[in-house]
Symmetry: C2
Subunit: 265 residues, 2 copies
Amino acid sequence: MKILLVFAHPEPRSLNGALRDIAVAELQNQGHEVRVSDLYADRWKSEVDRADFPSLPPDARFKPAAASGEAFAADALTGDVRAEQGKLLWADVLILQFPLWWYGMPAILKGWVDRVYAYGFAYGVGEHSDRHWGDRFGEGTLAGKRAMLLVTTGGWETHYSARGINGPIDDLLFPINHGILYYPGYDVLPPFVAYRVDRLDQAAFEPIAKRLRERMRTLATTSPIPYRRQNGGDYLIPNLQLRPGLEDFGASGFALHLNRAGTAG
Amino acid sequence: MKILLVFAHPEPRSLNGALRDIAVAELQNQGHEVRVSDLYADRWKSEVDRADFPSLPPDARFKPAAASGEAFAADALTGDVRAEQGKLLWADVLILQFPLWWYGMPAILKGWVDRVYAYGFAYGVGEHSDRHWGDRFGEGTLAGKRAMLLVTTGGWETHYSARGINGPIDDLLFPINHGILYYPGYDVLPPFVAYRVDRLDQAAFEPIAKRLRERMRTLATTSPIPYRRQNGGDYLIPNLQLRPGLEDFGASGFALHLNRAGTAG
């Protein structure tokens, strides 16, 4: 397979750097082709602004979605964005690797999403009608590919557990897994999370490295998170609310959008 | 009161720009002192990197949290970051205004958080013991102040409702409201959200503007979201899990951390 790893840590000599090297080596050992987008090394531009759309007239009001759609359609996006889109189309599997900062992605990675996910590429794709609300949430440009997160946290695993003060890790990552990866079509694998990494010694590192190698060996066979397809019948259109009675017993919030029975979607 | 509004939209002639002007005018009409941090206009630097810590030796491994703590303690953070920290200390109320992009903040605003929220300022504050896990989640540098989000979305309100495909807006904003605002001590007011803003005509704009003016008039009196204080007895320390039986009937996920009865915390 072809794998793209997007790396968002400023220090190569970090735990994140070590985990990246382990992931890449294991994937190459398995015969996969691997490319890495190292956002800090590449000095990735984080901010969506007018400079992203050189064809926009200087006095025109800047509407980010409209400008993005027009530039994508005219093949006029900037070179850095087009290069990343090319890598996404090339790769069978996307891995986003980052330290969890303030319960989300570092700004540089959010900026990669904000800029690379152009209108017409990652959203605004497909028919909009009373039966089909765009190709998204299970359909789209990147359908048929797989994606997963590789995340480190300073906090303890219990702090991110079902009753932990930070909120459950799966809920904290839902806006990324569902809203950024599932949205343009990826099948989303459960995240790899390493907790309490700030004071990690070699003895604690080894089991994490072993677990990561195992995940890299099973990318093709791991079952994706069973999110529900938007246009598969589970949602009313256009209000996009889950039809009554479909949810798991007692489920609410983000968990409504899982179909653990695997019979629909 | 003193109000700081942090504005994160690239186009002043946008709906966000119009809402900002309405908010500022209404606050000034009420006699408040208002400052605006316009991140795009100020060309805010989004990425946490070595350049943020000029005193870090060039060959030292860059550990973001440690570097942040050392620079904060030595008053050696960069001028842009110190200026924003000064504004946070000055303001009685913080408003973060942004368009919801990919279910979160634009990168430039995430970068404001990542850089301004230094170790020793917004985290790593206070005693760490078996009874008190740092001054955070209800305590901290910014305790006694209020904060709220002012957010616009392209999607419909039903898409962000309890059963909506995007997930409930309160859950999508929890990592910001709880993880970024409540964490360093703010009392967090319910967010102001304007939906479906992409094709808004004047008739649809007026009720939104009216609702926003009303929220600006009631900043001091609106009840905060009743999050539970970390060190108030509701959580076991150090695992930071909510004690059994405290939650609202049937609550799970992020909602566990609300105390709607208002009797504890």
